[in-house]
Amino acid sequence: MLSLLVSRGLQSALIVALVVTFSFLLIHSAPGDPFAGALDNPRVNPAIRANLRAQYGLDRPLPEQYVKYVAQLARGNLGWSFSRGRSVRAVLGDVLPRTLLLMATALVASFLIGVGVATVQVSRRGSALDGFLDRASLFLASMPDFWLAILILLAFSYWIPFFSIGGAVDPVVHDMLPPYARFFDSLWHLILPAVTLTLLYASGIARFQRGALLDVMPLDFIRTARSKGLRERQILLHHAMRNALLTLITLIGLSFPALLTGAVFIEKVFAWPGMGLAMVGAIGARDYPLVIGCVIVGSVLVVLGSLLADLLYRWADPRLRQL
C-alpha cells in the first residue's frame, strides 16, 4: 500500500508540474492585454497599461517569467491576482470551499440518485417505468449543462419565484442573521445549482450503473443465489450491486474532472462565487496567476480523485490487492 501511495504521489507531482508548465505557456501565449478589461477609466491610456505590465514583470521574456513563477510556486506563493487585487491564495481560499461544497453535494446526491434509479430500472426491467426512466436519463444526459441551468433558473426563480436568483447567500440579510439562519440561507441558495449539477450527473451514473447491473445479472453466482431461493430484491442489492461497484468506482474517478467542468457553467449561470466563476473571469481578464492557480487546484483535485478511485478499487476487489 505504501509503495502504491509513493508511486502514485510521484506520478501526481509530475502530472501537476506538467499541467503548470502547459497552462503557463498557453495562457501567456493567448493574445490579449491583462489590464484591458480591468481599467475602464477613460484616462488610462496605453502608456499607463504598459507601466502596469512592467510593474508585474509581464514585459520580461517568457522563460524568465516562467522561472520566476516556478521559484515563487516552490515557496508556496501562487502569485498576485491582477483582476482581484489580492493574492491568488486568498482568492482561492474564498472560492474553493464554495466549489467543493457544490461539487460534494452534487457528487453524493448524483450517486445516490443514479444508483437508486438504476436499481429500480433493473428490478422493473422492461416495464413502462424502466422505459420512462431510461428516456428521462438519456434526455438529461444529452442536455447541455448551461442550457439546463438557465431553464431551471428561469423556471424556479423567475416564472415561479420560489428560489433566489443566484448567489451563494442573500447579500441583503445574510450578515444580520443568527448562525442557524445563515446556514439555512446558504442551503437555500445551494439548492438550485446543486440540483442542476446533480440532474446532469445522476442521469449518466444511472445509465452506466444500469448497464453494469444488467451485465452482472446473468452471471452464474446470481443464478446460484436464485437457486438457493433468495428473493430478487436481496439478490439485486446484496449480490449484484456489490459486483457492479467497480463501474461506480470508475465513475467516481471520472466525476471529478467532469464536475469541475460542469461547475464552471453552473457557477456562471447561478452567479455562484466559486472557483469556476473565478476562473472564467480570470481567463477573460487575462489574469495569468489566478488562471494558473485555478488550474493547479483543479489538477490536484483530479489527481486526488484518481488516487481515491485506485484505493477504492483495491478495497472492493480483493484480486487487485495481490498485484
Binding site: 433558473l153 436568483i165 440579510v173 447561478f270
Partner: protein, 558 residues
Amino acid sequence: MRKAAAALLLLTAACAGGDNTSPALGGGTLVIATGGDPNSLLPPLVGTTQGRQVTDLVYDRLASLGDSLNTLGDGGFIPQLAQSWTWAHDSLSIAFHLNPRAKWHDGVPVTSSDVRFTLGAYRDSSLQSTAAALISSIDSVSAPDSVTAVVWFHSRAPEQFYNATDQMSIIPEHIWKKIPIASWRSSDQANHPIGSGQFRFASWKQGESVTLVADTGNYRGRPKLDRIIWSIAPDFNAALARFLGGETDFFEAIRADAVAQAQSNPNLKLVAFQGIDYSFLQFNLRDPRNPAKPNRLFADRELRRALTMAVDRNSIVRSVYDSLAEPALAGSLRAYPTADRSVPPIPFDIAAAGAKLDSLGWRDSNGDSIREKNGHDLAFNILVPSSSKARTRMAVLIQEQLRRVGVTVGIEPVEFPVFSDRSDKSDYDAEINSIHADPSPSGARQDWATAGIKGGNNTGSYSNPVFDALVDSATAAYDPAARNTLFRKAYRVINDDAPAIWLAEPKAMVGVQRRIHVTGLRPDAWWQHIADWWIPAKERIARDASGAVTTDPAKKNP
C-alpha cells in the same frame, strides 16, 4: 415563496437582536446589480467603474465636479472636504479651507496634513496610480494650519482646479503612514477602507457583494438611505433576471433589447439621462503591419469621406439602439458645454459615395461587384469586441451598407482583452471602438490629436496640425466663450477629415424599482448624488430594515 422566505429571514434577524427601527431622517436599502468586483478600494489604485462607485461614496474629495461638467476654473464645483477656497492673485496656488467638522470614519479629524499625504501617495511610483499623470501640474501641498491646505501649481492652467480636486480622493494619513507604501496594494487595509464620505464601508465579499452603510454623523449630513449593497452577478442575463424579479433595486446598464421587458413590469421604472459614451468606426491611417507607412486605403481622406457617405448612420443607430441613442457628434459629446450640434455631418448619399469612389479610381472593372484599383480589391476588416452586442451589430450593418457600393468588409470579432491589445498596437484596418469620455472636452487631445498617437488613445494615428493647434488653444483658453469657439472649430476640422465614421451616442439608461426616488444622475457618474436618493417610509419593504452607523462619538451606533 421567495418573498416569504426573505421576510422570514428578516424576521429571524430582527428576533436575533437587530434594530430595524429606521431613523426619522432616512432609511432603506438600495441593492445595485453590478457585473463584477471593484479592482481595488484604495482610491489611487482604482481603475474600474465598480471601484469608483464604491470609493466615491466612502471617500471625499476637496470638491467635486458639478452636474454641468464644467471643468474650467471652479464654476459649478460642489464643496466636499473643502468648505471654501481662496485663489492666490497669480493663480499659482489655491488655499482650501477644510470643514472643521470633517472626520474619518474612525472618528479622527480630517486635516490638511491628510491632503499633503494624499498628493504624495498618488505620485509615488511604487503605487503606479493611473491618476498620477493627471495631477502633474501640482507642485506641492503645504499645511499652514490643520484646516488649511494650500495647493501649489507649477503654472496656471484653465483646469488646474479640476485637477487639484476631482482627480484625488483624500485618504487618511494616520492609517496609511503605518504601512510601507510598496505594501499598500497587498495590505489588508486596502480592502477595508476608512474614508470621510457619507457612506462607510461595511463589507466586501468577493464575487458576492459590497456593502456600505450610512454614516449618520457625517459632516455633510446623513444620507437618506441606510445601506447600499452592490450585488455581483457577472452574467448579464442572471443580473437582469435578479432585477426583474425584484431581488435588486437598481440596474445600471439596461440594454435596448431588455427595455420592453423592464417596461412591462409595473414595479420598475426606466430613467434615461445624458451619457458620456460614444462609438465610432475608426480607420487606421497607418499600415498595421508597418506603422512607418501610410495605410494603403485610409490614408486617403477622400476615400474615408466616401465610405462615410455610404453608411446610413441614422438607420444604424435606430436599428441597434431604437430611440436610446443619437448619432454621434464628430469627436465630441452632447454633454459637453463645448458641443456644437450645428456641425453638419457628412451626408448619407449612396450615389455621391459611388461617384466619389469612381473618381478616386475605385471601379468594378471585372463585374464581380467589388471595386478594384491597381489590382487590389476595395476590402478591409473591422475589428470588434465580441462582448459588445451593439458594436457587433453595427459592424454587420456597416458591412451590408458598404457591400452595396462595392466594398468588401470582413468582421473580426475578438475577446475584449484581445481587442484592447490589438487596438493599443494599432493592429487593425478599422475598428469599432467606444469611448467612455472624460468629463473634460480637453480629453480630445489624448483621443484624436497627434499627441495621443504615442501613449494616448489615438490608435488610428489621425494627425492634422490644424486640429492639434485648435485643441491646444482651446485647452489653454480661460474664457469659456473663446474655448467653445476654438473647440467647435476643431470639431469641424475633424468632421471634415473623417478619421472615423461617427456612429452612436447612447443615452445612459438605468432601471430602478419604483419605491426608490432617484435625484440627479450625473452624466459621467450616476452615483454622485446617491446620498440624496430616498425611499418613502410607507413604500419600504422587508429588506429596507437595517442599521446605519455613525462616526459621531456623541451618538450611539444602532
